[in-house]
């Protein structure tokens, strides 16, 4: 269970989160959506303790996150950009993360799934962006963590890897994992998400299922419903200022 209460955060004068309340209680895939700069990554980074909130409470599995680090054992995280120490090999990085977490991991099936065997002994600086992202996927999923956080997971992946990733995410959901996903690719959301959280200007604008969203906006395609919300929002703003 991930609970967020009245979370606020600003960077300088830019108030990114203006009091977010969110509770993800059930297993499944929760997609966090929103336009650029709406605070998706900030929420994710707050959950992981990378960003320190100005106020509000955050807990993962009933453990308060503030100042703690042990709870991260429960989380697998896939960041947007994959960069590693350049002179280590893929195998060494996997070993390192295992070593740091001090847990057993099952990386072999994942390595096979994403076809990483030929790269295991090459140094990371010689790998392409997509291959690095695959390494990242292995690092994220190999621990069998109860919570999985995916921040733009599809960046740089080829279609084959993308399909593998989608089926992997689905399998993890079926095994009762709680998955938090941010993305701008609406097809992915339509395909995967059980629940949608829509952020707008640092607040939660909408929370519900895909069908709720369709009903609210009267659009069938998610892409269009979101576009509709956004244009309506800017129109309202224009009215207020006028």
């Amino acid at each position: 269970m991930i609970t967020i209460k009245a979370l606020k955060k600003s960077f300088g004068s830019n108030q990114v989160l203006k009091g977010v309340d969110l509770e993800v209680t059930e297993a499944g895939i929760c997609a966090v959506l929103g336009p650029n700069g709406s605070g998706k990554t900030t929420i994710i980074k707050s959950i992981l303790g990378m960003v320190i909130p100005d106020s509000g409470e955050l807990s993962v599995a009933n453990q308060n996150v503030k100042g703690q680090w042990g709870y991260r054992k429960l989380i697998g995280y896939l960041p947007q950009i994959a960069r590693f120490p350049e002179n280590l090999t893929v195998l060494e990085v996997i070993k390192m993360v295992k070593d740091i977490r001090g847990e057993v991991a099952d990386e072999q099936p994942l390595i096979a799934r994403f076809g990483l065997e030929p790269f295991l002994n090459s140094r990371l600086r010689n790998l392409s962006g997509g291959t690095r992202q695959k390494v990242n996927i292995v690092l994220c999923f190999m621990f069998d963590a109860q919570y999985i956080i995916l921040d733009e997971p599809t960046a740089g992946l080829d279609p084959v890897a993308l399909i593998s990733l989608k089926s992997l995410i689905n399998e993890e959901r079926d095994r009762g994992k709680m998955i938090l996903l941010t993305t701008h690719i609406m097809d992915l959301v339509e395909e995967l998400a059980d629940e949608i959280v829509f952020l707008l200007e640092g607040k939660i604008f909408f929370k519900g299922s895909l069908t709720d969203m369709r009903e609210m906006t009267g659009e069938i395609k998610l892409e269009r419903s979101i576009a509709k919300i956004l244009t309506r929002n800017t129109q309202q703003e224009a009215q207020v200022t006028a």
Binding site: F11, I52, W69, R72, P85, N87, L88, M96, N136
Partner: protein, 260 residues
């Protein structure tokens, strides 16, 4: 912390730059030793190289390494480990690998020359100590600057300015102020000024050990007169260590509240 240290150390030891840094010192030390054929002189010449180069390399590598490993730090931050340990591990990984290149680069030629067991052995060890202090200090300063500046260009420029100030400008300003206030007693002033610059401290550390009064310079002479050789040595060593602990402590403090 130790795990992070281990991996960033192995990563860095295998980089091309460690080898270049090592080779530079090896070649310089060999050349100076065999050309001058006098350990005392070679140590003095090397000291002049070290007090400029160790800070410069420490600063550059520190800033570069911090910015290059930023995304990797994000990955580590998502693991169940304390953020201060990540930073400390990386700091130690970088400094120890730089220091190792320096140590081997200087050490091997001197060992082949037959330094072990000779009378100049302690001089040589103090030289290594000075280089080590400078490496640890300037990597810490570089990390401190980098962690406070998200903007790479700004961080880089600031780090270079700090190096330039401490390595070059400081002495000029110091001499200028001595010259301008020559009617006043300046002993205490110059003592304080020396303690405030890690590069000066290392220089005095080596000079006090070598006991070459002609090269002590004004500050060194004051130091010598004020504390005597052995006490001066200990005090400059303690100040040198403070120059490591202060920036490292500040760095950890900043890290505690930083948003990554």
């Amino acid at each position: 912390m130790f795990k992070i240290f281990k991996y960033s150390f192995f990563d860095l030891v295998r980089s091309r730059w460690s080898l270049i840094y090592f080779l530079f010192f090896a070649i310089t030390a060999t050349a100076l030793l065999y050309l001058s054929n006098d350990v005392g002189r070679a140590v003095t010449s090397l000291m002049n190289v070290i007090i400029i180069l160790c800070p410069l390399i420490g600063t550059m590598f520190g800033v570069m390494y911090y910015y290059n490993s930023r995304e990797f730090v994000e990955l580590l931050l998502a693991q169940p480990i304390k953020r201060q340990s990540i930073l400390m591990g990386q700091y130690l990984g970088l400094t120890v690998s730089l220091f190792l290149s320096f140590l081997l680069g200087l050490g091997l030629p001197f060992i082949f020359y037959g330094i072990i067991g000779s009378t100049s052995m302690s001089n040589f060890i103090v030289l290594l100590l000075a280089g080590g202090l400078l490496t640890f200090t300037f990597v810490a300063l570089a990390f401190l600057i980098a962690i406070n500046n998200e903007n790479k260009i700004k961080g880089f420029s600031l780090a270079i300015i700090v190096w330039l100030f401490l390595a070059v400008l400081y002495d000029g300003l110091f001499l200028l102020s001595l010259f301008m206030f020559e009617e006043y007693p300046l002993d205490k002033f110059s003592l304080i000024m020396t303690v405030l610059n890690p590069i000066d401290l290392s220089r005095i550390l080596v000079m006090l050990q070598l006991d070459v009064s002609a090269m002590l310079g004004y500050t060194g002479a004051v130091f010598n007169k004020f504390f005597g050789t052995s006490q001066g040595f200990i005090i400059s060593l303690i100040c040198g260590l403070l120059w490591i602990f202060a920036p490292v402590g500040l760095m950890l403090r900043v890290a505690r509240r930083k948003d990554f």
